[in-house]
């Protein structure tokens, strides 16, 4: 093809002769330290420092001993690294009444998280599928009510729910708080799945119907296998949302079953005893570990999740 290249250059010397070929040639030179770059990167770096500072302070504080904390300042790196605060936070920090550390709360949170996530996603995915392909009279009205439900301040609903749970014997139990999470996760998750299934070509659904498949068979054999990404988004929303919950845990779980966030707050804000800031920060980091892990692993999917999950408020 070499020759083609040569031939393709138009020979038009008559017109080019009048042009002065000196002057700018090639890419426009760019200065690394242009005003624009300084402003842009300066602003971004300053902002990044503001966002990173608390994380940094948490980490260094949790690795210091109390004497060092009393002497030094919160930004200085630890002179002697100690993991004792972490051990204490996990194993023996006091919440005022008990001195069992965060581990109890951790396992409570796990026991709340897993069933809440699974049940809410199962229900919401089926709902979203029904709302996309099997509309019935009134289905959109129920959905609209559900969506508006996402904006109702929880404070309006918490007491009636206390009564419902008390009547059904679920109050002050892990099952009770799980049920509450399922209820409040439903609007946003249903919206998520409905929007996803709405983007699935309806021809696919029609073809399956023509082949004689019914409601559950189409869901299980056609829709489920193709919706893995949206399930992951839903899982991300639920894990961070449920793990970070405080209000439902403190109201519905009961003292024995307090999730990690509630225990963390009780440890740090307990009025008894000497404040151990290093243990507090280690406890805070331990509580933050799971959502942070999910965030850093999931990357772009997390962004997609929060864009949808933001409705949850």
């Amino acid at each position: 093809m070499k020759d083609v290249k040569k031939r393709s250059l138009p020979v038009n010397s008559a017109s080019t002769s009048s042009i002065d070929f000196t002057g700018p040639n090639g890419p426009k030179p760019k200065r690394v330290f242009s005003t624009r770059n300084i402003v842009v990167y300066g602003f971004l770096i300053l902002a990044a420092m503001y966002y990173l500072l608390p994380l940094y302070v948490m980490v260094v504080t949790s690795l210091k001993g109390m004497p060092e904390i009393r002497m030094g300042n919160i930004f200085s790196p630890p002179m002697e690294i100690t993991f004792e605060p972490w051990v204490k936070a996990w194993d023996s920090a006091c919440t005022g009444l008990y001195c069992e550390g965060l581990k109890v709360g951790f396992w409570n949170s796990v026991q709340i998280l897993i069933p809440s996530t699974v049940i809410s996603i199962v229900i919401a995915s089926v709902n979203g599928y029904a709302l996309s392909f099997w509309r019935f009279k009134g289905s959109e009205i129920f959905f609209t009510i559900l969506l508006f439900g996402a904006f109702i301040p929880y404070q309006v609903l918490i007491y009636p729910l206390v009564i419902i749970l008390r009547e059904t014997g679920l109050f002050s139990s892990l099952a009770g708080v799980t049920l509450v999470h399922v209820i409040f996760g439903m609007p946003i998750l249903t919206l998520l799945f409905r929007n996803y299934f709405a983007s699935v070509p309806v021809e696919l659904f029609k073809a399956a119907r023509v082949d004689g498949a019914g409601f559950w068979r189409i869901f299980g054999q056609i829709m489920l296998p193709m919706s893995l990404p949206i399930f992951i988004v839903a899982i991300i929303i639920q894990i961070t949302g449920i793990w970070n919950d405080f209000l439902f845990g403190v109201i519905y779980a009961g003292t024995k079953n307090f999730p990690m966030t509630v225990q963390l707050n009780n440890i740090v804000n307990s009025t008894q005893g000497v404040k151990e800031y290093n243990v507090n920060m280690a406890a805070t980091l331990l509580t933050a570990a799971l959502p942070l892990f999910v965030y850093f692993v999931s990357g772009k999917l997390f962004v997609r999740g929060i864009a949808a999950g933001a409705v949850k408020g």
């Binding site: 093809m1 020759d3 083609v4 290249k5 031939r7 393709s8 250059l9 138009p10 038009n12 017109s15 080019t16 009048s18 042009i19 002065d20 070929f21 000196t22 002057g23 700018p24 040639n25 090639g26 890419p27 426009k28």
Partner: protein, 362 residues
């Protein structure tokens, strides 16, 4: 003097070379069309001319001025985009005047230019409307108007008609041609639609892989394509290509293939042919004739019709020749049916012969 000159222009994104040391001269008042398949670099080239992309090497001149490092607004160009790119929250009038107001032109001058553009494009009644209230064709007119009010010498069009439906596309094509006749500006127009290219252009530059394959008038491009790619790209249905080789018999060159031997005595060779070289013999479907006319033609052959496609104005018939499919285009009044054997003929002067390996025209 040429209006736009491109000198050894290259552009790479990372390791991908999108434009490869390209040269191009556009004469003043010329309508030049950049045509090619998607990914050939035609839009990239246009964006470089507009100053929307920074080049990797080479120079760009507009009206004799080196604008390689200039901002788009200082290059003396106006541009029209495929998606119209109208500012949706502004009325048509504001859309037209925004750039001028930013440049702090006097009010009456802005008024004058808008009135002129509105008159030329017949959009006077639309001035107070917002883009959302306009049809696709009206939006594109406003987009052209935005280029028009800039009072520039060079207009750049980036697939301006691709978002419109077929009927509207035809109408606007004619309007564009009229606009060019009236204004006489230099226009550079990117499209992948060969009909647009053939109807609008003074010259067409056919691009592939960041290179200009041929730069010529539509007629030359169509009838005497420089290489196999150009020949195959232009024309619908496409040119027939028959594989064969060249032979020198009795002081005369011949094209030989399984079913066909053609004397190339009258063929206008542009390069010295080589004996035995594998070549492709290209023939446009409409240059194959049937019926009474065949008798006078230098080459005659029998064809078995396999399929007939009536297209309205004419009919395309499919056959086989030397192991490849062979189409011919005949008047729609001609009675043809599949399975029929017909006598056809053509004049080798209208054919194109390409070297098989390099694709170059002989």
């Amino acid at each position: 003097m040429s209006s736009v000159s491109i000198n050894d222009l290259s552009l790479s994104f990372g390791n991908v070379e999108v434009l490869k040391s390209l040269n191009l001269d556009v004469a003043e008042g010329e309508f030049l069309v950049l045509l090619g398949p998607s990914g050939c670099g035609k839009s990239t080239l246009l964006n470089c001319i507009a100053g929307l992309l920074d080049v990797s090497a080479g120079q760009i001149f507009i009206n004799g001025k080196n604008v390689t490092w200039e901002e788009p607004k200082d290059r003396g160009i106006g541009m029209v985009f495929q998606s119209y790119a109208l500012y949706p929250q502004m009325t048509v009038e504001k859309n037209l005047s925004f750039g001028l107001r930013v440049a702090r032109l006097p009010k009456d001058e802005i008024r004058k230019r808008i009135d002129r553009a509105a008159e030329i494009l017949q959009i006077q009644e639309l001035l107070k409307r917002k883009p959302a209230a306009l049809s696709g064709g009206q939006r594109q007119r406003v987009a052209i108007g935005r280029a028009l009010v800039r009072d520039v010498d060079v207009f750049l069009f980036d697939e301006p008609l691709s978002n419109l439906d077929a009927k509207l596309r035809t109408d606007l094509r004619v309007e564009l041609k009229r606009l060019h006749q009236r204004l006489g500006n230099t226009m550079i127009y990117v499209t992948h639609d060969q009909i647009e290219a053939l109807t609008l252009a003074d010259r067409i530059a056919i691009m592939k892989d960041g290179l200009i394959q041929q730069l010529d008038s539509p007629k030359t491009i169509y009838n005497r394509p420089d290489n196999r790619f150009v020949a195959g790209f232009i024309g619908s249905p496409g040119m027939n290509f028959i594989q064969g080789s060249l032979a020198f018999i009795d002081d005369s060159w011949f094209f030989q293939s399984r079913d066909l031997s053609v004397s190339l005595a009258t063929y206008p060779f542009t390069q010295q042919p080589i004996e035995g070289a594998p070549v492709e013999f290209g023939l446009r479907p409409e240059h194959v004739l049937i019926g009474q006319n065949v008798a006078d033609l230098p080459v005659q052959l029998n064809l078995d019709i396999e399929l007939v496609e009536p297209m309205g104005a004419d009919t395309v018939a499919w056959s086989q020749l030397s192991g490849t499919s062979f189409t011919l285009r005949v008047d729609s009044d001609t009675a043809l049916s599949s399975g029929q054997r017909i006598l056809a003929g053509f004049d080798p002067v209208r054919a194109s012969v390409f070297l098989s390996d390099s694709g170059i025209r002989l």
